[in-house]
Symmetry: C2
Subunit: 199 residues, 2 copies
């Protein structure tokens, strides 16, 4: 049985899983599961993930797994997307937890409110915008050396953090304000075989 | 050189690191670093963690590492706190990411606002309280079998999730409303050699 990915194509968290599976050459079935139309709250879906969130995967042996970053860590185990060096691997995990705590709740939420809820950029909560900008600025500094986030090559840290960074403009946050970040987004897109993000 | 843990004793995120180090029998120096008095924003501290957050550890070789859950994963690598089975390990990671995204931002923030900012419980944002209760209810269901969160024994998932769950009462969320959760907190405290939490 193929890996099944339950995901919403508008969600960067879900696209992380798709890109990781593509990069690893895994066969999978993508089951489009809408966040906006209640498909993550049906009783059947809640048996897969009691948290009612996508992405969820069902592994080839039938067992479910949730949380985008836990999923990509599991899928990529033993691959070049996870550094072999223990300290580099720990730094990659540091970025993955930071992404979910200090980047996604601001950068992705600004985008969601503007693009999917129709809120004008000027009416976003100032604290949200400030924290989103802070997250993008920190990333900009981290990739100013022209490389990837951890070690010498592409890792899960880049995949996780590029997902919503490349969509930041949807929430009124101009990626072009952060030149090193913009260049890194291009490098990661190229490594993943993606074209530039189209809003 | 000993492991150095920079942490604030009021922070569940920091206590996770202390408990993990204690459980593993690691020698360490605890460097008390206050969140409320600006000690995480000094230039010296920011060179350790550009995100300006505790906990941070400096490993015996002098290299820094941030993000509580990345730190405990690194310290506990190869120990019984991380399941050997790949799927169980992935489920443990699922809980760790869920904790930072769907539990800590509500349960810990409610506590922080009430205990450290002096906000009356009745004036907490209703959405915050609703999500905090949802997180505690989900955990209550997950431990209703009388065991631990993943597999047969204590894992990092229990350590990470007990940290703020046991303090939930500080934010006006009565742990006694969730009997299975309350019993699990007792089991984890016993396993870690901790007494009951005193507000």
């Amino acid at each position: 049985m193929n890996l099944k990915i339950y995901g919403d194509s508008i969600s960067g968290n879900c696209l992380k899983v798709k890109w990781t599976a593509d990069r690893l050459g895994l066969d999978y079935d993508w089951i489009e599961t809408g966040v906006l139309n209640g498909q993550t709250r049906t009783p059947a879906f809640l048996t897969l993930n009691g948290a009612g969130q996508v992405p969820v995967v069902v592994l080839p042996d039938g067992r479910p797994l949730a949380q985008s970053n836990a999923i990509i860590l599991h899928l990529a185990e033993g691959s070049a997307l996870i550094p072999r060096d223990a300290y580099q691997r720990a730094r990659m995990l540091e970025w993955l937890f930071w992404e979910q705590y200090s980047h996604e709740p601001y950068v992705a939420v600004a985008r969601f409110q503007v693009k999917h809820l129709g809120r004008p950029v000027g009416e976003l909560e100032p604290r949200l915008v400030e924290r989103a900008r802070g997250a993008l600025a920190r990333l900009d500094g981290a990739v100013a050396d022209g490389g990837f986030l951890v070690g010498e090559g592409l890792s899960l840290a880049d995949i996780a953090l590029v997902a919503y960074s490349r969509m930041a403009g949807d929430g009124g946050l101009a990626v072009s304000d952060y030149p090193a970040l913009a260049a890194w987004i291009g490098r990661v897109e190229q490594a993943l075989g993606l074209g530039p993000y189209e809003a």
